[in-house]
Point group: C2
């Protein structure tokens, strides 16, 4: 759903002008804020993938370092996250719909019975390791079947999802997959991550109902940033936020033996990267940046109310 450019080495997804929206009022106005308010969801991805990720994310949620997070339902630590969700009923937890299993040492399969979703499996029987082969091989009806199974398993585990998004962007990468994603979100009355884009994919937004909130810009660290530039890059991105609804996507974890082993040979989104993101979102610096730039923190739960 997005074409990227870099501001201060932080990826920001291009926004098309709000006039291109079918919505008469902006999301900010619908939520009761002035039209020029800068609304921000600070969102931790990948819960349930590893204990290290869960521990860091729960801590950041508890401290208010992030407002929201989303869960990888096929991953083995789902029960840990479900226990957290049941003891933190106000936590803003969505589902990070997962159609890939990207790490070298540590893999998972689908929630649905494998023979029902054969196109989702790589030759070893796990989900495809990369977005590319996933997008080449997935049958849209099987992808839809699997993401429905993920929503159902999360609900059965006691989670009340506040929103949907897509791990590694697989569901944003093909029109029929995006259509399945929107259909499932509508069926469960959930808001979902969809960003305004200025390329040919903008026409996909016609699948959305008038009520569906659309994110105006997305901020996410990318591999061009050196470790030493981490805070300055986020600082620059926060300073440059435009009025409208933005989402800052972070990947939290601790740089510990478990996560070092999960992310072995893959520094991008690796354990040190996730430790840096955790250190940043839980820092006093970040809190001060948000205050100085008059950023209003919001949650997916707030957007969900717009659908009611």
């Amino acid at each position: 759903m997005c074409r990227r450019r870099c501001i201060g080495a932080i990826t920001v997804f291009l926004a098309i002008p709000a006039v291109a929206s079918a919505q008469a009022r902006t999301v900010a106005e619908r939520m009761g804020y002035p039209a020029d308010a800068k609304l921000l969801i600070v969102h931790a991805d990948d819960l349930a993938v590893a204990h290290s990720v869960d521990a860091a994310s729960f801590d950041a949620l508890d401290k208010g370092g992030v407002t929201s997070a989303s869960i990888m339902v096929p991953c083995p630590w789902l029960s840990e996250v479900a226990a957290y969700a049941k003891s933190h009923l106000n936590a803003d937890l969505g589902l990070h719909l997962t159609l890939t299993s990207e790490w070298k040492t540590y893999r998972w399969g689908p929630v649905e019975s494998k023979d029902k979703v054969a196109s989702l499996l790589d030759p070893s029987g796990y989900l495809w390791p990369e977005t590319g082969p996933a997008v080449q091989n997935l049958k849209a009806n099987e992808a839809e079947r699997e993401i429905r199974a993920q929503v159902e398993l999360a609900i059965a585990a006691g989670i009340h999802p506040t929103h949907l998004d897509s791990h590694m962007g697989v569901l944003f990468a093909r029109p029929d997959l995006f259509a399945a994603y929107v259909k499932v979100a509508h069926d469960y009355h959930l808001p979902f991550l969809a960003a305004r884009v200025a390329d040919e994919r903008a026409k996909l937004l016609s699948l959305l109902s008038e009520k569906d909130p659309v994110v105006d810009s997305i901020v996410m660290a990318n591999p061009t940033i050196n470790a030493g530039q981490w805070r300055a890059s986020y600082g620059s991105a926060v300073k440059n936020l435009k009025p409208g609804l933005s989402e800052m996507i972070v990947h939290l974890g601790h740089d510990d033996p478990e996560l070092q082993a999960v992310t072995v040979d893959h520094p991008d989104f690796g354990s040190a990267w996730r430790q840096r993101d955790y250190d940043f979102v839980t820092s006093a610096d970040f809190k001060q940046m948000l205050e100085e730039n008059h950023i209003v923190l919001v949650k997916w739960k707030d957007l969900k109310k717009l659908l009611e």
Copy 2:
């Protein structure tokens, strides 16, 4: 396959006299040792369950603290163990056939397509958490289908299994499950853990061929042992080993955040327990005990040769 009694607070499985065996010569004699030799396999269970378990077990295998280990194929760290197996071709690695998923925060399902093995799943869609409900619910043909899928997946991942055994003893707990286990082991020409017992289950040994090696006694720590008695208890068990083939089953891991989270609320076989087992098998004390008691360390690979 075993009734337990305690020697020095270490569980030892009761052996029936060797005369009850159909085999004319003892395993020791068939392996070229004197009939009264004390042969011991030191065996680490549960590889692939967690990185912490893998790291401790690989280290103990590399140091000769254990002679053998077995792998839980449905668990997410299988690829980490397969990489170790491919770079350590002499490592004695069998398959710890797994029909349960016993931890609270961290779960896994079957290798086989779920709708083909419905009796193996608990209401949440994972494998049953305990041996009891597993044994009550499993259909033997579905259990056989799943353990064959586990063997096939391990082989496809590049592992050359040296033996089979059964996680949490599920395959020892019902005659038809034991028969499936023996059948699969025979089909793949693999030795498998079967222990002499003095109770009604002894008749199951009639399923074995004359070539199948049978373990005379099993030594394993149990929850009655205090942490401070760990070494003394193992020491007493080693001292009391009888002539014949014994297996000491250990559970290795590090007492770190990952394994503390996996084994939360379950000190038995928990992270501190596994750290104690790791510390013991890699200690100079253990090496000295084995030497002083004239224990001959053997591997499942040596037993596999008896089937050729």
